[in-house]
Symmetry: C2
Subunit: 413 residues, 2 copies
């Protein structure tokens, strides 16, 4: 890969991602995990209900289970008299069904007796003897009752493949006795950091040296997305060392990220290393994107390999644009775990057409409850630009910039 080829082969970000995903196998590797441990995992198969829920008719009120017809026409002035023939205990079946003119004491959640089809709230009754009540109001059939299968029915589709499991989803699965679920396996993502200037965070950098940041930022983003980062360490800007590290990482992981230096020579070396790792090799070298232009997207022997720019802002932007959707694709996930808010831009931002720009912004809550998006400017090799910001907004390819007052969508980080 030469610098010349990089300059002439620049793709738009959506185009670049789609070229990559076209070469990534669609097969999702799955595993079975206990439902109660499956929070935030991505379903690898549709789930259908194995049974009705509830399995019996339940009262939604404290009161008396009745045959609704026995209450028709009842008013405070002319109540319906009913005989109490049973008390339904929670967690137990009623001991008998109801005959005409009969009722059973029942609490919220209790099981309706046979022949009962409604519940009169206790507040709408009056006990006039040890075994007799007045119903002061008529109830319709089904009133204050949850029917069998009203929550969900046997065979109903309840959760779809690709869905990320939320707390209530675990609740619903547990309610149906579904003890385990098939989910996409967590992906192992190898991170190889390249750069003669890098030292480990625990080391005191010498003159001209800096600590490795990207391994840790990337690692945290990968964990947030539900996968497993595997830090390979720091390697010098030497072809043999970098290639050997990348090859080892490719064998041990599902996906590999090379976080390389920002100089042209370091980038070219990264491209060569990636291109030699496996077939088809480098698919995209250079994206019409700022920051993040020198991004490398590759597939080597069926595994996605990324060469991300070395500066921290570019690294985060390109992770979001290319790595995160690829991990979601490999997991069959229907959506990314990213959220965004709509905000109002506070100042003009210039941009070149034919390029997507990503701008870091701070969000400020306005009096009217909406958000202002305040750009946080800074060179893209300054990590604190990201720290002072709440999210990023995109200036689209075909826009020459954005005007103050524009409604923008800010992806939070």
């Amino acid at each position: 890969m030469s610098t010349t080829r990089e300059l002439f082969n620049v793709r738009t970000p959506p185009d670049a991602l789609s070229v990559l995903l076209d070469h990534v196998p669609a097969r999702v590797e799955m595993e079975e995990v206990p439902t109660v441990e499956a929070l935030d995992r991505v379903l690898a198969a549709d789930v259908h209900s194995p049974s009705d829920l509830p399995t019996f008719r339940r009262s939604t009120m404290d009161g008396f289970a009745v045959r609704a017809a026995d209450t028709f026409g009842a008013t405070e002035g002319l109540p319906a008299y009913l005989d109490i023939v049973d008390e339904v205990f929670m967690g137990h079946a009623p001991t008998r069904g109801l005959g005409t003119g009969q009722c059973a004491r029942i609490a919220t959640g209790g099981m309706l007796p046979e022949n009962a089809d409604a519940v009169v709230m206790v507040e709408q009754t009056q006990e006039v003897g040890p075994t007799t009540i007045e119903a002061l109001r008529a109830v319709a059939p089904g009133e204050n009752v949850v029917q069998i299968g009203e929550d969900v029915r046997t065979g109903d589709p309840i959760l779809a493949v690709g869905h990320r499991l939320r707390p209530q989803d675990l609740g619903g699965l547990v309610a149906l006795g579904i003890a385990s679920v098939r989910v996409a396996r967590r992906l192992r993502v190898g991170i190889v950091s390249g750069g003669d200037e890098l030292v480990a965070p625990s080391q005191e950098p010498g003159r001209g040296q800096i600590r490795d940041i990207n391994s840790y930022t990337l690692g945290a983003m990968i964990r947030r997305d539900g996968h497993v980062p595997c830090l390979a360490g720091i390697f010098p800007d030497e072809y043999a060392a970098l290639e050997s590290a990348a090859r080892t990482a490719l064998t041990a992981n599902d996906v590999v990220i090379l976080s390389a230096g920002s100089s042209v020579s370091a980038r070219d070396m990264t491209a060569q290393v990636v291109d030699n790792l496996g077939k088809p090799g480098v698919l995209v070298h250079g994206v019409s994107l700022k920051p993040g232009k020198p991004t490398i997207l590759a597939v080597c022997d069926g595994k996605p390999v990324f060469g991300l720019p070395g500066n921290p802002v570019s690294c985060m932007v390109t992770y979001d644009l290319f790595v995160a959707p690829t991990l979601a694709h490999l997991s069959g996930a229907a959506s990314l775990p990213r959220t965004s808010v709509t905000a109002r831009l506070t100042r003009n931002i210039a941009s070149a057409t034919g390029r997507e720009d990503y701008i870091q912004v701070r969000l400020e809550r306005r009096q009217d409850g909406g958000f202002d998006a305040v750009p946080v400017f800074g060179k893209s090799n300054l990590i604190f630009t990201l720290i002072r910001a709440d999210g990023m907004l995109k200036i689209p390819l075909d826009a020459g910039g954005l005007h103050a007052g524009a409604q923008v969508e800010v992806v939070l980080f």
Copy 2:
């Protein structure tokens, strides 16, 4: 606590929460954890920068480090001639400073030599001999250079107490060599499930029985919020059993949730149990809220205790409104890890004034990029109402309802 007192002592949700938090100690318990393991943890102390970043002047381009004054007036027609006296290697200090008319080869990220104050991009130079270049353009002092401390300066406040650590925050801390951070200790939250009708998820429910859902939904919400759920198990609707379980949970945990039955007698028993656990006991019993009216908020011997309604929708709503902010308060967290989107309501919803209503909604993306909020109606004891929804919206206390077309804020779950 009698039913009567419940009816007459109903508070608004914000009022109820503030009564509770007024009784909860503000002291945040902290612990020191390695920075690289601190993702999503809440800072327990402000962090200031121990050093400048960068610690040396760095080039942002591949090119030549120069004394800017030597290039003044340079053009393609009349270039400035400079002698190459050094090559700066990545990760090393330059071997010498620059004299007048001298320059040094440098790559992106390289350390500027002494007396150099700018970098000419390689594209704006021409090599005219083994040790001579033409600079085809003038550069200003500081051009293409990151200054010492430009990212952050010694002593700068960089992250504030209460901040939840994001991937880039870990990167910034690591860049400064901050190997560990003081964060709020994860809270242990005991969950006691009460109800004669409940069985464990692994059991096949008998007639009149249902599986315990709330322990698992609550547990997952607590984990999402960064804390540790401790499931005590299922206890019958008997005072002694419930009290003993609650007492054990209070000793072992920082916070206790009792998820009780929905009948009046079960709720009254829960209130009595909580009130006897410790001083001051029950502070709020009954909130002007639907669903979730019979919520119990208490502080017992300095620890928050919650009696949440037994039905799954009420349980989730009241966790969000009362438990989550209390956990954030105890952690000193500046914000809740909740996100919301603005959406357009698709139909009228009625409500009673003087009560906050929470409505489950499904979000649908419109052609124009915005979201429609489609209400998902269902009795509040139906768990699948929550599963079919993407979030909840609030109908404020003083509103009689909401009109179709209203802009609403949907809190995602």
